[in-house]
Symmetry: C2
Subunit: 155 residues, 2 copies
DNA sequence: ACATAATGAGTGTATATACACTTATTATTG
DNA sequence: CAATAATAAGTGTATATACACTCATTATGT
């Protein structure tokens, strides 16, 4: 069916022939995450780890469920994602007044690691936002939030 | 810092306070993938598997590298993603004329599984596209492609 | 033709992701 | 107050993801 088609056109064809919301968001996210991972590498943080620390730094302390909700991440995924951060001593787990809960806080080392990572994040971020333009990125953000809300309601 | 803030506002605050392209695309993708996974469940396929089969069905046969490139996925990730599909007999691996290559094709079972999954995919897809509107989704698609291209050039 | 480059793909390891199930603790209800 | 329901979090298992490294095969340069 596509034997006559040159390879480069085939790439373009398939990419554009798949209109799936899931396919396209996952595909873009793979690329974006690879890019942020590479740029953040000198800080020793992966993209997900940077996001987690960044969200946590905005809160006094967070229960696992709160943080998982904010990150739109399964609670058990957060447990696993936490483990390299605990090992490196960037996050601390306490025991709450309700002894079932395990409130999370950033350690001083976590705070300083985040600060050291900031310039690398800014480099990656500005590269993308400058190229597509601030208004375009604003539209994208709104679209992503809109899709997220539709899907969150549906749970 | 946020102790006075009610929990619900905190969620909204943190979500909107993190302007990171990576954070927002990953977050939305987690939600979207969960949604497609749930909707596709009766077909026995996960989102990624559906995408892979779908792309493969548009090609006569694909080398691993071609397919990995189309999916913007590391070649070794494709190797791993293939394994449940091979186990279920949905994809077949041949040996090419160049004996280093391993061309992939959909099996008849793979084709029929994809066809059976189509209505479930349509349900998930139309739900989202109807809610945000076709023009809005078109804008999103263009934005995702634009970001993908910026990032791909930077490799 | 042979030594070396380049290329296509797989493995080892680590993180990311989520579901089903379990454990520990707190809340509720009779 | 004791039995039971609800809640917060962890484990087992499977897939998803990518980097460093390796292996096998083809291409290339002399």
């Amino acid at each position: 069916m596509f034997k006559e088609m040159p390879k480069e056109s085939l790439y373009e064809f398939v990419r554009q022939a798949v209109p799936c919301v899931g396919f396209n968001t996952r595909r873009a996210t793979r690329l974006v995450t690879q890019y942020y991972d590479k740029t953040l590498a000198p800080s020793g943080l992966r993209s997900t780890q940077y996001s987690l620390l960044s969200a946590l730094s905005m809160m006094d302390e967070a229960s696992m469920q709160e943080l998982a909700h904010i990150l739109a991440m399964d609670r058990t995924t957060l447990t696993r994602n936490l483990s390299p951060l605990l090992r490196k001593g960037l996050v601390k787990v306490k025991v709450g007044s309700d002894r079932r809960s395990r409130p999370l806080t950033l350690t001083p080392k976590g705070q300083s690691t985040l600060e050291k990572a900031l310039p690398y994040w800014e480099k990656a971020q500005s590269r993308i936002v400058n190229e597509i333009g601030a208004e375009q990125w604003d539209l994208m953000m709104r679209g992503l939030h809109q899709i997220s809300m539709i899907v969150e309601e549906n749970t």
